[in-house]
Every structure is written in structure tokens, then in C-alpha cells.
Symmetry: C2
Subunit: 442 residues, 2 copies
Amino acid sequence: MRRKGLASMAVHTASTSADPSGTTDSRVDLGPAAALSCRECGERIPLGPHFACTACFGPLEIAYELPDGDPEGLRKRIEAGPNNIWRYAELLPVPAGVADTPNLNPGFTKLVRAENLARELGVTGELHIKDDSGNPTHSFKDRVVAIAVQAARAFGFTTLSCSSTGNLAGAVGAAAARAGLRSCVFIPHDLEQGKVVMAAVYGGELVGIEGNYDDVNRFCSELIGDPIGENWGFVNVNLRPYYAEGSKTLAYEICEQLGWRLPDQLVVPIASGSQLTKIDKGLRELIALGLVEDRPYKIFGAQAEGCSPVSQAYKNGHDVVRPVRPSTIAKSLAIGNPADGPYVLDIARRTGGAVEDVNDEQVVDAIKLLARTEGIFAETAGGVTVGVTRKLIESGALDPTLTTVVLNTGDGLKTLDAVAPTSQATAIIRPNLDSFREAGLA
Amino acid sequence: MRRKGLASMAVHTASTSADPSGTTDSRVDLGPAAALSCRECGERIPLGPHFACTACFGPLEIAYELPDGDPEGLRKRIEAGPNNIWRYAELLPVPAGVADTPNLNPGFTKLVRAENLARELGVTGELHIKDDSGNPTHSFKDRVVAIAVQAARAFGFTTLSCSSTGNLAGAVGAAAARAGLRSCVFIPHDLEQGKVVMAAVYGGELVGIEGNYDDVNRFCSELIGDPIGENWGFVNVNLRPYYAEGSKTLAYEICEQLGWRLPDQLVVPIASGSQLTKIDKGLRELIALGLVEDRPYKIFGAQAEGCSPVSQAYKNGHDVVRPVRPSTIAKSLAIGNPADGPYVLDIARRTGGAVEDVNDEQVVDAIKLLARTEGIFAETAGGVTVGVTRKLIESGALDPTLTTVVLNTGDGLKTLDAVAPTSQATAIIRPNLDSFREAGLA
């Protein structure tokens, strides 16, 4: 059954997979990254700008040679490292000197102990928000793009590119500017003005495509196969295996910020599902390396009802994720055909978690709940995870007596429209005390 | 001459200064803060919610009993502290246990080595951007509000308030939410929708005043004098001496991040002028405490041409700042009658710096220059400092061979309109390679 889900993903991506032979350099320096390996058949190929297995079209991921034997030494080196994701350079596909190269240095964002929110939700255990709105362009995308930049450099790419509907465009534009790479980002031509401005301000090429996001993706695949795209690194296509690893740093940081301790439960948003699978990978690595105790944890996936193919498959007991046409205010999660959906189902079931969804009204309520309890203004994706957390507590799926970490992956300033209708002035008054008293606020 | 400038400021604030007697508790625990002292006549009064001297109407500031005799020990304690402003708790008007109280933990934002920008500006020395867009609500206001929250608690205030046109409203709303205080924020009723939403989302009271910012301020002064306002802490009025001290942390962080070294030159934006004066105060404290070498530094003030009363006074050799009616896109700096203007003039002249201004077109150019060179999307205030830096280099006032730190105090996402007209898609194409080639981007 699972293979079907993957086959549908392969249709999406494999058609443009270049033949690795001839474009690969096995001596490329990406630190502990040793090879690319297929998540389906296990085939290994040398490191290169490839994303689909030549044997079975399965997705490729990074295989590592990680440090072993001295967890205490590794922990000390991490703790002595910079206050960004490069403190974990020994566990990432990046060269050892990465922290000295010009980049945006994302990560090590706040893990906020959310006691006010816990009270409202009836959580008696520890509740934490991992708040990635503190990243340089205010979303978790800075993490993944920073890793992709290193891969782009290693493979000699001179243009950094992506297809995007928002957060990623800004993250790529900013990272390329700082790294001294050319950037050329593709978006649907009718995006909201705010997102267009954010993507354009970093000075790279910004190309609007007359079509929807699927059309943009298809065009990018065509471009990679064309000589024009020869020196182009598409962070979420031909650099995807590297890019995706950036999400592991969320797992590393959460555990380190908890005092080198696994949380009992994590609530993670699902777009393509990549982030959730890499958080699981990161947690398993920390256990294997001896940096945290080996004990169970549960991963819960969160979707918006209007784009909930993984949640629907989970609830129906399916291994296959049936694509949907998204219709939700949580646009950064609106991927109707999530490539990593089957893996997410595996992880939720293996760890004893679940996948749940909330409707747009619940998303808005959750954004406002988080804002008024903890002073964190989350993007709609954060409304999804907080809303799902509440729903999971009510259903009993999530244990409110344990340690739980909920991810906020973006910033409310980027999705103002979601809360605008219900976030307005309490009162409009004339500038005098009588008018103030009349408003009933004294 | 200087007294005149202060007199004009006193008109603005002193009319609502409560009599300190009876409302003051000298045993209030605000750490090393020992008293309030008048910046003009030196009069000392016990700590309390007061902002103007009862003897001369001069502005009050915090007088400290700072640790002495063991700079090495202090430095180590700071370095072992949390990654936020509370690492400097021993130097701030806050209780020792401040880091354990629920607050937004702002500060320790990135100091970015800006080599790309340096090349463009012809800077051969070190050029750094202190990027305060990384704060919780994405402006430096989180620093000052965090200190005001501690004062509000110490004085038993139950409502946190302010008058604001933007950044401060969000910072107060968020901080109060997290701290469990009621908030009631006053804004002009016709603010841009985005700013209203940001101020409202944290769930406090948000009151639109039918009038301009001056009307809002006058109303707040009236409210403080009325029994209604008895338990209200207005962060930028009756808590102003505490609030203002938060800006010292910018100086502390810059020096620590430079390896406990003073920069040679700093470029700081001027709104009320408070931030610049407190940065100077912070630098002098570090010297007095033996944490940095005692050597000269120069502070440069930056204004927008459409609101440049301090710059005009500087250029004309005046000690008096003549109020102006602001007209600039740099709205967060648009204070036409800056309370600390005379002190800013003193500091610029004493340190060998200067005050300069740039027009709105130069502000936009500078925002885009910083974005395309360093991947930092600054608010208009950051465009002002970067633009002024360029102008000061061209005029020879700023030495490009030395170590310079330029402040970016806010986030471009909050002032999208400034760059929107000139930050758009490079091209709109159909989703095929021919169309892409025709656009000339291949």
C-alpha cells in the first residue's frame, strides 16, 4: 500500500531527476554527509544534486557517518558552538567551517515555556512553544535554505532558485543575497502584494508565472532539465535531500533547550510532511548518539481541515494519501499532494501519535489564544498546531500531564488577513475622559 | 540655551507629574536601581512612578548602585546568563530573579558582520548591523517594554498602557499578555489596518482616539492624573525612566558581541532621542565597570529629512531643538518635538559624532541596499540609519577604516508600503521555457 503513495509522489518529482552519473562528485565536502540513499530501496549513490532514486524513483535522503563513542565530548562541542544551527554542524550535511561562511545563521530560536496557555488548555505537564518566528526571515524556512545554500556551493551552482507561494521565496532571496549568490525565484503571478514585496526586496530575480502553484512547479522541473538550468540549485527540487535535513535542527534544539531531554509529545505541522519526518530523524539520531536517553516519544501531525489529506488517511486507517485540492487560510500548509505523507503516517503510528486537523475558524481562534496567553503572534500554521493540540487534548489522544512541545513555524505578520476581521480596536472614543468612561473600559 | 530645549519638553510631560510623596516606596526591589535623579538639577527622589523632577521639571532617570571591583567576575556572570537582556540584570532596574518571571525575554539579537554592505559603501574597516528585527515583536521596543513591565509589577500596577502609533502598541500588548497584566493601549483611530491588527491580536484593550498622536498623548496625560488611571503603568509616561533604560542593553550587547570591545563609531536612529542617550549611558557604564577599555567612541544620530529637528539644530550649531511637523515615511521616528533632543546634541558633539538626515527616497534606497547585500529587511528606521551612514561616509564625517555599528531597530514587514512601489516581480511569464527566454532572464 505505501508504495502507491510514494508512486504518486514520484510522478510529481521523478520525471525531472537527472542521471547522477557524470554530475556527481563523491569528494564533495559536506561534512558528515557520506552519500545519498533511497528511502525505499536503500540504493546508495554519491552525493550530488539528485532527489529521486535511479533504481526505483524513491526519494533520496542523506546518509551520514556521524561521530560516535564520545557523547559527552560532542555535547560540549555543541554547547560551545554559535547560537544558531551551526552548533550542530557535525550532524548536518555542511562543511566543518560553515559558521564562517556568509549566511543568515538561522536557528536556536526560543523554546517558550507556555504556562498561561497550559492553564487554558488544562495541561498540567510542561507545555512549550518552539517559536520559529524568531528566524531571520521569520519562518522555519531559513533553516532548510541555509543547508541548501551549502549544497549549492558544494555543487558549484551559481543561481539559487525555488518555487514558492510565500515564506520560501523570502528565505531564498535573503539567503542568496547574503551568500553572494544570484537568486531567481518563481511564484504564481497573482500572489498577495505583501508576499511579492517580501520576495522582491532582496534584489534577486522574481518571476511571476501565469498559472497556479502546480504550474510553477512543473515549469521549474522543466527548467532543471534544460541547459538554462544547468548551474541552478532549486532548493526544494534538486537540492531537496540537503534542504530537508535543515528541519532536523528543530529536534536538536528542542532537546538541548529541554536540558538534553526528549519531550514526551510533539505537535508538528504537515505541509509536504518533510519537516515532521526530519524531526523524527533528528530525535532518533540524538538517541543513537547517546545525547538523550532512549525512551519513547509521540509525534502528532497537524493539518488544516481544508487541506488534510494526511489526517484523512490517518483517520481512515489508510497507508495511501489521496491528493486533495486545498482550500484553507493556512496557505503555507496547503500542499494537496504531500510527498512525505506516507512516511508521516508511519511515524505517527509507530510512535503512538496521531494526525488531526482543525477548521479555519479554529485556526483563527488558536492564533488569538496563543497571542493573548503568551504574546506570540503566530502564522496560520501556528494556529493549526495550537488548534490541533487543543483538539487532541479534548479527545484524550494527547496526555496533558506530560511534557509537550508545539511548533510555531512562522510569523503572524505574514498572515495578517487571517485575524484582521476579528482583531480590531475595542472602542473608538473622543480624546476625553467622559468619552472613555462611556466606552465602559475604565 | 539647553534649558530652553528642556523647558519645551517639560511642557509636554510635566503637567501630569504626580507628587511623588505618598506614592513612593523606597524599598521597592528593582535590583541595582537606587533612586530617581534629575538629569538637570541632580535632585534625587526615591524610586516610584515619576518622570519629571518636582524641583525643576527636568526629566528623571535611574541612579544605580552598580557592582564594582571585580570586572572579570561580572563578565563571567554575564556570559553565563541567558541569551536575552536579562544576562545584564545586574546593570538594569530589575529584580535579581527577573529571568524567572514570565516575560518575552527580548534581546541578544544578532550583530551581523556586513561585508557585502561594507564593499558597496567603501568601508574597509569592520561594519556591523545590530539587527533588532529579531526581537519577539520585531522591534527594539521589546527591550524597553520588558523593563517597564518589571517597574509596573514593582509599583503594583495592574494595567499596562501606552500611547503609540505602531511598534510600541504591539510590544506592550504582547508583553502584558505574557506577563498576565491587563493592557489598554491608545492609538490614533485612523492607523493603518496592519498596525491595528498587530496591536489588537494580543487580546488587550485597544482604544482608537479620534485625533492625531498629540491628541492621544494629551489624553493619556489626563488619564494618569485621573483616579481611573490610578493603577495604570504607562510605559512611556509614568514608567518612562525605567522603560528608557532598556535601550542600554543595545550598548551592552554590541560591546559583548564585539568581544568586549567598544566600536569606534555607532549610527543610531533618533525619534525622541532617548535610545541614543541610553546607548551612550550604557557604553560609559561598561567603561566605568572595567568591562571594556576606556577609549573614545563617536555616536552619530540619524533622522529622516521630513522629521529632522535634531539634525537641523546640529547643523545650525544650536543647543535648542525647534519642533517640527513630521512628514516622512519613517513613521516610527516621526516625533516632531523630541524630548531628548538637547541631550543628543550634547552627545554627538562631545563624542565627535554628528547628526545627519536623509530624504524618503534615500530611505527606500537604503532599505533595499541592506536587503540585497545582507539579506536583512529593515523597517524605514533601518533605512534611515543605513542611508545616513552612506551620507556620513561620503561627507567624510564617518571614518570608513574604523569599526562601525549601524542599528536596525525594526522589521521591514511592518513598513511594506515603503518599498512596495519599487519591489515587484522582475517579469511575468507564461509557464514555459520560451516565455522565460523572452524575458531575458536565462
